[in-house]
């Protein structure tokens, strides 16, 4: 397994963070509608996993999918434009935050329904095995999806047929405000792998290097015909469940602050500096460039045309 350049991982996490900070602002301005779930605090997971994927590998994401889309290589402009509802968006404004599709880079969708993406990733892996391709599929999902039947059925199917798929559970402790410790009879996810007969591992999801190592090994294993794995990334979302939602007092300020001190970008910055892989000046420059790119992406979206209402019913069927 080749480990990706730690600097690239840093740049990618910055891109996600800064793009989402801008998206959050745009939401407050009323430029983004519907529900907008940010990935702030969890960037290390998407970046560490997707660093090992080719554009032909297939990612199936959740309602909290901006980070997965960006990490998989969807341009920030296209993501921003989609959330602004513009014709230049990934789905020309049809989808919005929870329906990001960019098959040209293997981003096979985010979903507004919890669960289905686990099954679809299993299916993409089925197709890759059937058609004897080298590609792998990845499903990202939250702790909330673990109590859903889709988790149980999808992982079992992947296990019995040895499919090339990686199941990445981003355990951020809550499903909206419902604690996983309340919703699940067992607070662990990775150990459930034994129930399905596949390898499982729990890691610090805020440490991008750790994510990268664990995911890299599991993806390589899948690519070489070794079958599926379950990776539990322990992480935390530091913003509200969705933009504009109050923090209804389901978690303590201490808990939030403790996790903010474990911010994946700050931690990785320290890692780079400690190992003299970068200077703080260069990292500050990237930061500034990243912010500017994010601002530009918003401007691109803001100035893009609205979709033509006459197109509202196209593509319902392939044959039309």
């Amino acid at each position: 397994m080749v480990m990706p350049d730690p600097l690239d991982l840093y740049r990618r996490m910055l891109q996600i963070r800064n793009t989402e900070e801008q998206l959050a602002r745009a939401y407050r301005n009323g430029e983004i509608m519907g529900a907008c779930h940010t990935y702030v605090g969890q960037e290390a997971v998407a970046v560490g996993v997707c660093a090992h994927l080719t554009p032909q590998d297939a990612v199936f994401s959740t309602h909290r999918g901006h980070g997965h889309a960006l990490a998989k290589g969807v341009p920030a402009q296209a993501v921003a434009a989609e959330l602004f509802g513009r014709a230049t968006g990934t789905s020309r404004g049809r989808g919005g935050s929870m329906h990001l599709f960019a098959p040209e880079v293997g981003m096979m969708g985010t979903t507004g329904i919890v669960g289905p993406n686990i099954l679809q990733a299993t299916g993409a892996a089925y197709a890759f095995q059937l058609l004897e391709k080298d590609e792998v599929a990845v499903a990202f999902f939250g702790d909330g999806a673990v109590n859903n039947g889709a988790f149980h059925e999808g992982i079992n199917l992947a296990a019995i047929w040895g499919l090339p798929v990686l199941f990445v559970c981003e355990n951020n402790l809550y499903a909206t405000e419902i604690a996983f410790a309340y919703a699940a009879g067992n607070p662990e996810v990775a150990t459930r792998a034994t129930t399905y007969g596949l390898p499982g591992e729990a890691i610090d999801g805020n440490d991008v290097m750790q994510v990268c190592k664990a995911a890299g090994a599991m993806i390589e294993r899948a690519r070489q015909g070794g079958g599926p794995s379950l990776l539990e990334c322990r992480t935390y979302r530091t913003r509200a469940h969705a933009e504009g939602m109050p923090e209804a007092g389901y978690r303590s300020q201490e808990e939030v602050d403790a996790w903010k001190h474990k911010d994946p970008i700050a931690c990785h910055r320290a890692y780079l500096l400690n190992r003299d892989l970068a200077t703080s000046d260069s990292l500050d420059e990237w930061e500034a460039a990243s912010v500017q790119a994010a601002v530009d992406a918003m401007e691109f979206a803001r100035t893009s045309p609205w979709p033509d209402p006459a197109t509202a019913t196209s593509n319902v069927y392939a044959e039309t």
Partner: protein, 329 residues
């Protein structure tokens, strides 16, 4: 209607009805995601967790099939579950339980097992909720024997119908359109129940009958206000009950007007408008001076972008011109 009655929002009225029933009957409990301390994504249970405690106001994991099947079993032994789906779209993951179990057990047990169960959720297009949070789905439940389905359009009916739904021994879908939840209206303080299966005539007229469902009722009222200035008298019927349908009320109106338009945000094919049309054709063909007309949402998944979303749903302008087309026939 009593004008001295306090004015409540649709959601407040429904919550008042739920609270009254839960006070009355300790076998009633509510399950759903975020309905506990948070009080529901749409405030459907605000304050009720503190009042009734965790066993009667129960936050659930994301296990729609699980808790619907669970509530089916609870109803079979005498409890009265209310399932709060937040968005009704999530009910589809429990469709097998509902169609093959909840709807059939009264019949298969020869009426020895009752199925008192309320299934409530937010429906409809609006606010760029996009395709996974904008569904209507009611024709599915109107087609399958065993369900009752109501879609109130006023706070008054929301309260009265939710109370009736909770007291019913049949599974009842109680549908709350996202654009109606914040609308306000008078709600009597004295207890009352609204019957399931009755439509309501909102305005009397003899030029044409327009049957509207849910959020389309107010939109139709807006549409006819302009027409009335031109001396047209339209009879608007709020369908209220989707299953069973109140055909007598519609038939009576059509007997007078000879013309019928059904305005329904939901998809046309095999929809509620089709069923109303065929019933009127079967029972009142000779009343019809013109073909029955339907005005529905366009036949496509619901998009996110406002101009696209808007293009799919009947506007008051669309409704007005559909009425004029009908009158021109």
């Amino acid at each position: 209607m009593d004008d001295t009655a306090p004015v409540l929002s649709f959601t407040e009225a429904a919550r008042a009805g739920l609270t009254e029933e839960m006070e009355r009957d300790p076998s009633i409990f509510v399950v759903g995601e975020g309905i506990g301390p948070r009080g529901g994504n749409f405030n459907t249970t605000l304050g009720l967790y503190e009042r009734f405690g965790p066993r009667r106001i129960r936050d659930t994991p994301i296990s729609e099939r699980g808790f619907v099947g669970m509530c089916t079993g609870a109803a079979m032994v005498g409890a009265r579950p209310v399932v709060d789906f937040m968005f009704l779209d999530f009910i589809l993951d429990a469709f097998g339980e509902l169609v093959n179990q909840t709807a059939k057990i009264q019949y298969m047990s020869n009426g020895r097992i009752a199925m008192p169960m309320v299934l409530r959720g937010c429906i409809g297009v609006g606010g760029s909720a996009a395709t996974h949070h904008s569904g209507n789905y009611y024709p599915f439940f109107a087609h399958q024997p065993g369900f009752r389905v109501v879609a109130p359009s006023t706070p008054h009916d929301a309260k009265g119908l939710l109370k009736t739904a909770i007291r019913s021994n049949d599974p009842v879908l109680f549908l709350e359109h996202k654009l109606l939840m914040a609308t306000r209206g008078p709600v009597p303080t004295a207890e009352y129940l609204e019957p399931i299966g009755r439509a309501k005539v909102k305005t009397v007229g003899d030029d044409a009958t327009v049957v509207a469902v849910g959020a389309m009722v107010q939109r139709t009222m807006d549409a006819i206000s302009t027409l009335e200035e031109n001396g047209l008298h339209i009879e608007v019927v709020d369908l209220v009950s989707i299953a069973p349908l109140d055909i007598p009320t519609i038939l009576e109106s059509v007997a007078k007007t000879g013309r019928l338009l059904i305005v329904d945000e939901d998809y046309a094919p095999c929809g509620i408008g089709a069923e109303i049309c065929v019933r009127i054709v079967e029972e009142g063909f000779d009343f019809l001076d013109a073909p029955v007309a339907r005005l529905n949402g366009a036949y496509a998944p619901i998009p996110y972008s406002p101009p696209l979303e808007k293009a799919l749903v009947p506007s008051s302008e669309n409704i007005a011109s559909a009425i004029l087309d009908l009158l021109a026939q």
